[in-house]
Symmetry: C2
DNA sequence: GTCTATACATCGATAGAC
DNA sequence: GTCTATCGATGTATAGAC
């Protein structure tokens, strides 16, 4: 359940990232990883795992170190600080979520209806949120636990994902698909709320994520009322 | 924005609550409050405020003390520990929420339809959640930040409120009002998710809480699709 | 009931040997 | 790159005077 990180390396390196030279073979898509990179990923995986489980403030560097089978002090060779770790975890989580939703939409036939595309996006988002991916679960869980300044810095990147939904819903509206007594912005937040809150109550064994996504789609498009 | 706590005093006093004798005049409805009680409330108000703002783990006893215009050490005269404070804040928040929803339903005419009653409950819940009540906002914000054992202890009381919704939706279903392809339990969680997540994005100035409640009700009953 | 002082624990981060 | 040792800051909680 670990050992899979780096969606993309720090785009414009966070402020005080200890610069480690890429060497020769470390591309987003490349395969050659130096030892340091492997360790780095192991630390990130461990961090995501612990953040998800204990929340931000309760996560100790020593917890991460333990799970990553290394020493607290060794972590500081790979990351500048605890904040730098959490930043990277959030970055990766955001990237993965976005990527998944985009792919889900992209997998549809070119002439798919807006409704189908929104449906696909719901499935993509919900399934990755509930997939057990530590990065994403951690993201949702800890985001509002972050110190105010750190959170503020991330609102921008968070908004990139919101933009995606905004676009989808705008399209739906301009096709005349949406009731005119609804506020698009509120609707978007409600939909995202339903999906994200699901990590609070979802338990394996009952309905599967795709089944829950179906329920969300039904509720979102048609409501609970029998006709 | 403060100075209003105690919905009811600790029903079965939390395990290690420092017992303070009620004296003569301290009832849930009574008015005579001893100095200690007033201070206690001031501390709770301050705590709710800070918990809401900074989350659980980031809230320091000293933050609470400062806002309550007292000393960290003085707080320990009124509460056994930081956990005891948070427990009381949660208890009060739960009670208020429940009370509000029950009242909202109770205010309806006797023969109101289930749909109306669910609508009233949505309004009641959402409005108190967004009302700016620090206790309730704090509750929603910090609940999943709590240490596992503390959280577990509270699941029971939390479930009392869920029970309320469960009942409402069951009634609706037995009246044949709800699509048969929907899972009642999931629907309930989605509805609660929409409402609770709203504290994450609600900002004063745009739509008012009653307006948002209307949007939620529309979405919940009929979906976004124009007919 | 509230104050000052302080014990005691925890934890992030650094130093420096290997 | 990882280890041991340790500093320094912070924060909960207690002791005891007033």
């Amino acid at each position: 359940m670990n050992s899979d990180a780096l969606l993309k390396r720090p785009a414009s390196a966070s402020p005080a990232q200890k610069v480690r030279v890429p060497g020769k073979g470390v591309d987003a898509s490349g395969k050659k990883l130096k030892k340091a990179d492997i360790t780095r990923v192991r630390i990130l995986d461990a961090a995501a795992h612990v953040f998800r489980q204990k929340g931000y403030a309760l996560t100790r560097i020593s917890d991460i170190a333990k799970l990553a089978r290394t020493q607290s002090s060794s972590i500081y060779y790979h990351f500048e600080s605890r904040e730098a770790i959490v930043e990277e975890v959030l970055r990766i989580a955001n990237g993965r979520t976005r990527e998944r939703v985009i792919n889900a939409i992209g997998a549809l036939p070119r002439d798919a209806s807006v409704r189908d595309r929104i449906g696909a996006a719901i499935h993509g988002h919900l399934e990755i949120v509930l997939a057990g991916d530590h990065y994403i679960a951690a993201h949702i869980r800890i985001f509002d636990q972050l110190p105010a300044d750190l959170r503020k810095r991330f609102l921008r990147v968070l908004d990139e994902n919101a933009e995606l939904w905004r676009t989808l819903l705008n399209e739906a509206q301009s096709e005349g698909m949406i009731r005119s007594d609804l506020d698009l912005s509120v609707i978007r937040q409600l939909l995202i709320g339903m999906m994200n809150w699901s990590v609070e109550w979802y338990r394996v064994g009952r309905l599967s994520p795709p089944q829950i996504a179906d329920q969300i789609a039904v509720l979102f498009f048609d409501g609970v009322t029998k006709r």
